[in-house]
C-alpha cells in the first residue's frame, strides 16, 4: 500500500503579476524520488521555497501527511520533517564541519536551549553528527572550518546539514551545481543511498543524473507542469523534447 505523504493542490505563486508557479498539483508517495526538470525560470526553485515555507503561496494548498501546512513558518515546517538544500551553498561558513552538522542534529533535541549543560556532554548528538559526516563522505574533514572546504565538499556538507535534522521529505536543489564531474559522482552516490530511506524531490540541471536517479519526473515550464511520469515516458515526450531537451 503506497501512502501519499506530500501533496500540493492548485498551488500558485505570483510576484507582482508575474506568475512563477501556476496551478501546480502533485502528490508524492512515501519513498519516492521525484526529479523536477525544466528550463531556467520555470519556477523550480520557487516551488521549493513554497514547500519549505520561505515563500507563502498566492493561492492553493500544501499538505504534509494530510496536514495543511500552507503559510506555516519555515522553522515549524522543518520541525515537522521537511528539509532542504539550496542552489547557492547555504552552510555555516565559520564553523567546523562537525559543528555544522551538530547544530542540525541538535535541532531535534527536546531541551534545545538548556544553558546549564555543556554542549560537549551531549555525546549522543555528537555521535549522530559523526555518523552523518561518514555517510556523506566528509569523515576526514570533520575538523575543518566549512569555508575552507572545496566547492564539491561544501555541496556534500549542504546535504549533510539537510539530513542532520532527520527529515522524512528532503528537497535537493541542484546538488551538483558547479561541481567537478568526479565530485558530482560522489554526490550522486550519496543521493542514491539516501533515497533508500527518504522521500526526495530533486531539482537538477543535469538531465542524465535525473534520468538515472529519479523514479518519477515532473517537467515544469513557465510555472506549469507540462509532463509527469516515468523517466522513459518523459524522455520520449515530444513536448518535453521540444522545450527542454532542445530536440526539434
Amino acid at each position: 500500500m503506497v501512502r501519499t505523504i506530500f501533496e500540493t493542490k492548485n498551488l500558485t505563486k505570483a510576484f507582482n503579476g508575474l506568475v512563477a508557479i501556476d496551478n501546480v498539483s502533485f502528490k508524492l508517495v512515501e519513498g519516492e524520488l521525484r526529479g523536477i526538470i525544466g528550463p531556467n525560470g520555470a519556477g523550480k526553485t520557487t516551488l521549493f521555497n513554497l514547500v519549505n515555507g520561505y515563500l507563502k503561496p498566492t493561492s492553493g494548498k500544501l499538505y504534509f501527511y494530510g496536514k495543511d501546512i500552507t503559510g506555516i513558518q519555515p522553522h515549524i515546517i522543518s520541525q515537522m520533517g521537511i528539509a532542504a538544500t539550496f542552489q547557492l551553498t547555504n552552510i555555516f561558513p565559520g564553523m567546523k564541519v562537525l559543528e555544522n552538522v551538530w547544530i542540525g542534529v541538535h535541532s531535534r533535541s527536546k531541551r534545545r536551549w538548556n544553558p546549564f549543560v555543556h554542549a560537549k556532554s551531549l555525546t549522543g548528538t555528537t555521535r549522530r553528527s559523526e555518523e552523518i559526516c561518514k555517510l556523506v563522505g566528509l569523515w576526514d574533514k570533520i575538523n575543518e572550518v566549512a569555508t575552507n572546504l572545496s566547492h564539491g565538499n561544501q555541496r556534500l556538507l549542504e546535504i549533510a546539514i539537510a539530513i542532520s535534522s532527520d527529515p522524512t521529505l528532503l528537497l535537493l536543489d541542484e546538488p551538483t551545481a558547479g561541481v567537478s564531474p568526479q565530485e558530482a559522482e560522489n554526490v550522486v552516490k550519496v543521493i542514491e543511498n539516501l533515497s533508500k530511506t527518504k522521500t526526495i524531490i530533486l531539482i537538477e540541471h543535469d538531465v542524465d543524473i535525473v534520468l538515472r536517479l529519479a523514479e518519477t519526473i515532473m517537467v515544469l515550464d513557465k510555472g506549469r507542469v507540462i509532463a509527469e511520469g516515468q523517466p522513459d515516458e518523459i524522455s520520449e515526450n515530444s513536448e518535453v523534447q521540444r522545450i527542454y531537451l532542445g530536440v526539434e
Binding site: N52, Y54, P74, H75, I76, S78, Q79, A83, A84, N90, I91, F92, P93, G94, M95, K96, E99, W102, I103, G104, H106, S107, R108, S109, R112, W113, N114, P115, F116, V117, H118, A119, K120, L122, V145, I161, S164, S165
Partner: protein, 321 residues
C-alpha cells in the same frame, strides 16, 4: 612545543585565568588607591563588554544603544536605595530584573528587524531614555544627576560598607568572576552553539527548525541583564547616577572595546577595556583629543585583524573560538 604551550596558556580553563585571578585578589590590597580605582573601573566595564559580546559577537546583533540598560541598572539601584530604603541585594536584584523587563519589551520589537534597522531602533530606544532622563529631573536629577548613600553589603554574619575601597574592590571582583563563569557556561552550552549558528547563517538556522527570533531575544535579554548589572556596580562605585549614563557615548564604548579586543571571544572585550581605560587614564591627562588615538588604534587593529586582538592571537596559534 611553543605552540602547545601557548595553547595550554590561552585555553580559558587552564593557567592564565587562575594566574590573573590570584593577581587580582592579591592586588586588591597591595595596589595604591589610584590604580586600584582604575582597576575597579576596568572590572565594571569588563562586565559591560562581555555582556555586549553576547549580543554583538555571538548573535550578530549590532546594538548602538546598550547604555539604555546600563542606565536602567544604575538608576534602578540608586532610586531603590534612595527612595525605598531597599537593602543593597534587593536594590541590585530589582535593578537587574528591571533591565530584564525592559529588554523583554523592547527586544520583542527590535530583534525582528534586520541589521541596519536593528541599529536604528536601538539608537532610538536609547535616545528616548536619554531624553527622558534629562527631562524628568524630579526622578533622575537630569544632567546634574543624583547622589545616594550606598547601603552596606549584608553578608549574613556581618555587613560591609562599600565606602571602604578594598571592600568595594572585592565586591566588584566577585561579580566579574561570576559574570565570566556564567557567560562562559552559556557559550559552551547548546544555547551558545545555536547563537553562533545564527550569527553564521541566520536563514540556515531557521530552515533547520530553530526559532531564530526567540534565540535572538534570549541573547538580547541576557546581554541586557549583565549590562544592567554593570550599571548597578558603576552607580554603587560612584555613589551617583546622571542622565549621562544613558548617553550614546556610553553606548559606543562597548562597541569599541569589542571591536578592538575581538568580537565573539568573550575575553576580547576585557582586553579592549584594559587597553582603552589605561590609554584614557594616562593620555587624557596631557592630551585632550586622545579620542583621535583611539580611532587610529581601532582602524589599525581592524585593518590587521577583523576579529580584533584576541582573534588575531587565536588564529596565529590555531585556537578556535
Amino acid at each position: 612545543m611553543s605552540q602547545r604551550l601557548m595553547e595550554v596558556v590561552l585555553r580559558p580553563t587552564s593557567l592564565i585565568l587562575p594566574v590573573i585571578l590570584v593577581f587580582l585578589i592579591v592586588m586588591g590590597i597591595l595596589l595604591p588607591s589610584s590604580i586600584r580605582s582604575l582597576l575597579m573601573e576596568i572590572m565594571i566595564f569588563s562586565i559591560y563588554g562581555m555582556a555586549y559580546d553576547i549580543l554583538f559577537g555571538f548573535s550578530n546583533q549590532f546594538s548602538y544603544g546598550q547604555a539604555l540598560f546600563f542606565g536602567v541598572g544604575a538608576y534602578g539601584v540608586l532610586l531603590l536605595a534612595l527612595n525605598l530604603n531597599a537593602d543593597l541585594w534587593t536594590a541590585m536584584l530589582v535593578a537587574v530584573m528591571l533591565s530584564l523587563v525592559f529588554a523583554f519589551v523592547l527586544g520583542i520589537l527590535a530583534v525582528r528587524l534586520s541589521e541596519a534597522y536593528f541599529v536604528i531602533i536601538s539608537v532610538i530606544f536609547n535616545m528616548v531614555f536619554y531624553l527622558l532622563a534629562l527631562d524628568w529631573t524630579w526622578l533622575t536629577g537630569g544632567d546634574d544627576g543624583l547622589t545616594f548613600t550606598v547601603p552596606p553589603i549584608p553578608l549574613g554574619f556581618a555587613s560591609y560598607s562599600v565606602y571602604d575601597p578594598i571592600v568595594n574592590y572585592y565586591f566588584i571582583l566577585f561579580f566579574v568572576i561570576a559574570t565570566y563563569l556564567i557567560l562562559k557556561r552559556i557559550i559552551d552550552s547548546p544555547l551558545g552553539k545555536i547563537l553562533v549558528s545564527i550569527r553564521e547563517n541566520e536563514e540556515r538556522a531557521e530552515f533547520l527548525g530553530y526559532n531564530v527570533i526567540r534565540y535572538k531575544l534570549i541573547a538580547y535579554i541576557i546581554s541586557a541583564m549583565f549590562t544592567g548589572l554593570s550599571g548597578t556596580l558603576y552607580a554603587i562605585r560612584t555613589r551617583y547616577a546622571s542622565a549621562d549614563y544613558f548617553s550614546l557615548i556610553m553606548s559606543a564604548d562597548p562597541i569599541i572595546w569589542t571591536l578592538i579586543g575581538g568580537a565573539g571571544t568573550l575575553i576580547g572585550p576585557i582586553v579592549g577595556v584594559v587597553i582603552l581605560r589605561i590609554l584614557t587614564y594616562y593620555i587624557s591627562v596631557w592630551w585632550r583629543n586622545y579620542f583621535i588615538l583611539i580611532g587610529g588604534l581601532m582602524i589599525l587593529v581592524l585593518r590587521v585583524s577583523p576579529k580584533g586582538i584576541v582573534g588575531y592571537i587565536a588564529s596565529k596559534i590555531g585556537v578556535k573560538f
